[in-house]
Symmetry: C2
Subunit: 356 residues, 2 copies
C-alpha cells in the first residue's frame, strides 16, 4: 500500500544535483581558457558588476576572529542570483604546509533558494583579487604605466602580475619579499611568461621608479611594508594584503598624501588601510569611478591608492563567470547536495524508501 | 629546471580533501543508525551544547529576503570548531516540485580555517529541528504528557512526532493540515511506527485535549493557526513554523497567556512569534532552563511555549554528531575542495604544473 502511494524511486531527482567545481577542475578550466585570458575575461565581469553596483545587496562580511586567524562569510545578491563565499585567513598556516587563505563558494537562484553552483575558491579568489587590482589600476593609474613593484611574493603575486599585464600591458616587474625563496619562486614561475623581472634587494629598491606598487603580504598585524619616503608622485598603489582589523601594510602618512579608493566603504573602514584614519576621512568607492560618477586620478602627479580588501560582488562575478564556462559538465561534477523527494512534502517518505 | 624546484605532482595532497555527506549518504547513515535512535542521540548533542551555551559565538543569522522567500547563513563557533549552515525558505517551492527548505552546511577547524566537513542539511535540518523541539518539550511540558497534536503535516511533521516520542514516550497523535493529502501522507508514513493516530477534521479538534501542540506550517505571512480559545491550561506548545519576519502562527493573545522560551533572544525577537509582542516582553532562553539557571514550567496549569526559530548552535551540534558517525568514509566521499600546493606559497606553480 505504501508502494501505491509512493511509486517512485529514491534515486536523486533532477533538482537534487548541484554542479561542483573541484580544485582539479578549476585548474583544468583555467588552463583550458589560458590564465591570462581568464584574468582578462574575469576582470571584464568584475568591471561590469561594479558598473551596476546599486543593483547588489551589500553587507560587510560576517567575520569570526580567533587568535590564529579569521573565518568569514561574504554574501551578496543581485535580486536574481545569490552568492556567498567562505574564506579563512590564517597567516601561520604556511608553517604547517597549509594555505594562508582557502575558500569555497556557491551561487543560488533567488527565486527558489536552490543552489546552482558550488565551487572551490582558493584559486578563484587569487584570480579575482588580481583581476580586481588590475581593474582598479586601469581606472586609477597613469595611462603610461610600464612597470610594477610587487612587495610580497607569496601565493597571490604571480596572479597580480599577469592580471595587470593583461589589462595594462605592464611588462616590467621588480619583486621583493622578506623571504628570498618566495621571490625566487615567483620569478621562476613568471619567467616563462616573458616578463622583464628585477629581483630587488629591498622594498625601497623595488618601489623606486615603479609606476604601480602592489603590496600583497600576509602578516596579520599592523606592519609598515611601505614608509612615506618610499612613495613618490604619480605612483598608483594596490594595497592588497592589509585586509582585516589590525592588519595594514602602509604607513599612515602615505594615506594622507593619497587619493584613496575603496570597494565598499563600510567594510573597508573596518578592514582596510583606512582603519588608520579618522572615520570621516574622504574616500571614493571604486564603482563610482568606473560608472563615471566620480573622478579617478586628477593629475599625473597624484598618488592614487586602491585600498583593496576584497568584496562579495567580486566573488559573485567570479562564480558567475565560472558557471558560464562549465560547458555542460566538462569542468564540473554533479553533487547530490539537495534532498529531492518525489513529493516535496514527503521528505520522511524519501528517507524510509531509501532503506528498501 | 622548473622540475627540480617543483619535483612533486599536481595530485591533491592530504589537506585538499574534505569529507562530503551527500543526501544519499545521509539517508544511509540515518537508516543505519535508525531514525529514532538518531533523533535521540542528536537531541543529547543539542542539549549538551545548550548546556555550554556561553562557550559559543552567537549572532543572529544573516538573511537575504526576496519576494519569493529568504536565503540565510547561520554561523557559530565554540572556539575550537566553526560551523555554518546555508538554508533557504521558499513557501511557493512545493508548487514547482521543490522543497520549501533546503540546506547544506560545514564545519571548519578554527585553528587553521580549513573545512573538515561538508554536508547536506535538508534532511539534517528536519532532524535537528525535531530533536530541538523534543528537548524543549522534555524541559517544559508536564511530566505526564501522553498526546501531541501536529498542525501542519508537511515535510517536517513525521520527524517531530518521532523525536517527541523518542524523548518523552508520547505515542498518541492527532494530525491536521489544511490539505488532507498532507495528513494522509503523514499518517501513512507514521503508521508503521506503532503510533496511535487520529486524523482531525479541524485544527480545533486536533488540539482539543492534546498535552503538546506542535505547529509546523510553511506559509510566509502572518497566519493564525491557533486562536486563543484553542489553547488550554497545562498545554505545551512547540511553535516551529513561524520563523521569519512577517511569519507567525499563533494569535497574540496566546503569547500573552504563556510562559515563553526561546533559543537566542536577539534572533527570536526578529523572527519568532514574539515579533508580535513589545520588545521588552519577558522571555527565557531555553539553555538557561537546561543549565538549571532559570525555571521552566512553574505549575501543571501553566501554558508553556517554545518559540522555535532554529539556531546555529543546533546545526553545529548536528554536524558534529554526523561527523563523529562517518566511520572513516563509510557514509561520506572525499571532495577535492581545497587547493593544496606542495609549497603553500606556490599556488600559481600548482596551477601551471597541473597543465603538464
Amino acid at each position: 500500500m505504501m508502494q501505491s502511494i509512493h511509486p517512485k524511486s529514491a534515486a536523486p531527482g533532477p533538482f537534487a544535483l548541484v554542479p561542483f567545481v573541484s580544485v582539479a577542475n578549476m585548474m583544468r578550466l583555467v588552463n583550458a581558457v589560458g590564465v591570462e585570458v581568464f584574468l582578462a575575461e574575469l576582470a571584464a565581469e568584475i568591471e561590469a558588476d561594479f558598473r551596476r553596483w546599486p543593483a547588489f545587496d551589500k553587507t560587510p562580511r560576517v567575520a569570526s576572529h580567533s587568535v590564529e586567524g579569521v573565518i568569514e562569510l561574504m554574501p551578496t545578491s543581485d535580486g536574481g542570483t545569490y552568492g556567498f563565499k567562505y574564506v579563512n585567513g590564517h597567516p601561520n598556516n604556511t608553517a604547517g604546509g597549509r594555505q594562508t587563505v582557502t575558500a569555497f563558494g556557491m551561487l543560488a537562484d533567488v527565486g527558489t533558494g536552490y543552489p546552482v553552483l558550488l565551487s572551490e575558491m582558493t584559486l578563484l579568489t587569487a584570480l579575482r583579487t588580481a583581476a580586481t587590482s588590475a581593474v582598479a589600476a586601469r581606472h586609477l593609474a597613469r595611462p603610461d604605466v610600464a612597470s610594477m613593484a610587487i612587495i610580497g611574493n607569496g601565493a597571490q603575486a604571480e596572479f597580480q602580475a599577469l592580471a595587470v599585464r593583461a589589462l595594462l600591458g605592464v611588462n616590467r616587474l621588480s619583486l621583493y619579499d622578506i623571504d628570498p625563496a618566495a621571490t625566487a619562486k615567483c620569478r621562476s614561475n613568471l619567467s616563462r611568461y616573458g616578463f622583464d623581472i628585477i629581483t630587488a634587494a629591498s622594498a625601497e629598491a623595488a618601489v623606486e621608479g615603479a609606476d604601480i606598487i602592489t603590496t600583497v603580504t600576509a602578516d596579520k598585524r599592523y606592519a609598515t611594508i611601505l614608509t612615506d619616503n618610499m612613495v613618490g608622485s604619480g605612483q598608483h598603489l594596490n594595497a592588497v594584503g592589509g585586509d582585516c582589523p589590525g592588519k595594514t601594510e602602509l604607513h599612515r602618512d602615505i594615506l594622507l598624501r593619497s587619493d584613496i579608493f575603496v570597494e565598499y566603504e563600510p567594510q573597508t573602514r573596518i578592514e582596510g588601510e583606512i582603519q588608520q584614519l579618522q572615520a570621516d576621512h574622504a574616500v571614493t568607492e571604486l564603482w563610482r569611478v568606473i560608472a563615471g560618477e566620480a573622478m579617478g586620478r586628477k593629475s599625473a602627479r597624484d598618488i592614487t591608492l586602491f585600498d583593496s580588501v576584497g568584496f562579495a560582488t567580486e566573488d559573485f562575478s567570479a562564480l558567475r563567470y565560472v558557471r558560464r564556462k562549465l560547458n555542460d559538465g566538462e569542468f564540473s561534477q554533479d553533487l547530490d547536495l539537495l534532498a529531492d523527494p518525489d513529493d516535496p512534502r514527503d521528505l520522511f517518505g524519501m528517507l524510509v524508501r531509501s532503506a528498501n
